[in-house]
């Protein structure tokens, strides 16, 4: 089981390692597309890395509505909760 805090630190670590984003800019409200300029290929790279960290396949459909770092953490949390239930 992953808490939201653990998931946030996974996301934070991934954003820093993959995209060299300044840690201070990674807030729950930060927009992945506008603030970090991630495109659809970046999203795929990010999902792959999160899959390795969480040990679960992350279907792209569950991230259609993700805009911010907070959305991403929530979506991951929901996904992991339903898949372990």
């Amino acid at each position: 089981m992953h808490t939201k805090d653990e998931l946030l630190s996974h996301v934070r670590e991934s954003l820093i390692e993959l995209f060299e984003i300044d840690p201070e800019r990674i807030t729950l409200e930060a927009r992945l597309d506008r603030d970090f300029e991630l495109d659809s290929i970046d999203a795929i790279d990010l999902m792959e890395r999160l899959r390795r960290l969480t040990g679960r396949k992350v279907p792209a459909e569950s991230f259609r509505s993700v805009r911010t770092v907070g959305d991403l953490v929530d979506a991951l949390h929901r996904l992991l909760e339903t898949s372990t239930a």
């Binding site: 495109d39 290929i41 790279d45």
Partner: protein, 257 residues
């Protein structure tokens, strides 16, 4: 280039209509008769797919030689013997509708990323299914399948522009091709395609045929380095590779006209 109608213009006009019909008939005949027939032969899914790709390659080659011998086009393909190596990602610029026909015709056992719409077109869907080509959408699925095909030792053809070039406009490569390359390509081989005068471009309907007989010049270029990008995070590696590719094409084929 003179705009006067030359090289048996009206013959070539009729020929263009004929070529489309021929291509559609090939597609239907393969889908309805040949491929289902081949599926009855012994061998598993892998053998069936290899047979389908062999048949498609021969049909495309026949299509090219028929349309050439009737005077509808001429072509020269340099270095084609270097196509078809295991784990090879073949990329090409995309000036005309039939670039993919040339590449598949000259690449043994080619896999290819093609428009997802091919699976909705009755003339192409059976071939696309039997040869297990990879639909270009959704992107995450495309990248996953493409990387798996290369890792399994297949040769994969991708057009990084995604769609045909609009003549005169700057060339744009989607990062999907570079992303596939950094994940799984053993080698990255660029093919340079020039069609003069242009024909069957994105910007004109099929019946607006060029005043002269079109000539297709295809050349297999030197491999573009990918090995040195291993170990760099994929978003950065694919961006770097995409700019290498664009720089290569800009140097070799400066104009998109």
């Amino acid at each position: 280039v003179s705009l006067a109608r030359q090289d048996a213009y009206y013959w070539r006009f009729a020929g263009t209509a004929f070529s489309f019909t021929l291509f559609g008939l090939f597609g239907l005949l393969l889908g309805i008769v040949v491929l289902p027939g081949l599926a009855l032969l012994p061998g598993g899914g892998g053998a069936r797919c290899r047979r389908a790709r062999t048949i498609v390659r021969r049909c495309f080659r026949a299509f090219i030689e028929i349309t050439r011998s009737l005077g509808f086009q001429s072509y020269r393909f340099e270095g084609a013997a270097r196509l078809g190596q295991p784990g090879q990602l073949v990329v090409a610029n995309h000036p005309s509708l039939i670039d993919v026909v040339f590449l598949i015709a000259f690449t043994p056992q080619a896999n290819c990323v093609v428009k997802a719409a091919m699976w909705r077109n009755p003339f192409t869907r059976w071939v696309a299914t039997a040869a297990r080509y990879i639909p270009n959408a959704p992107t995450d699925r495309m990248i996953e399948l493409a990387a798996a095909a290369l890792a399994a030792g297949e040769t994969l053809i991708v057009f990084p522009e995604g769609t045909r070039t609009r003549p005169g406009e700057p060339r744009v490569f989607h990062r999907g091709a570079a992303s596939i390359a950094v994940r799984a390509a053993a080698r990255l081989t660029p093919v340079l395609i020039q069609v003069s005068p242009t024909t069957l471009t994105k910007a004109e309907p099929w019946y607006r045929i060029p005043p002269q007989r079109p000539h297709f010049a295809l050349r297999v270029g030197e491999d573009v380095a990918v090995a040195d990008l291993a170990g760099i995070p994929p978003p950065r590696a694919s961006r770097e590779l995409n700019s290498r590719l664009l720089a290569y094409y800009a140097a070799q084929l400066p104009s998109t006209d």
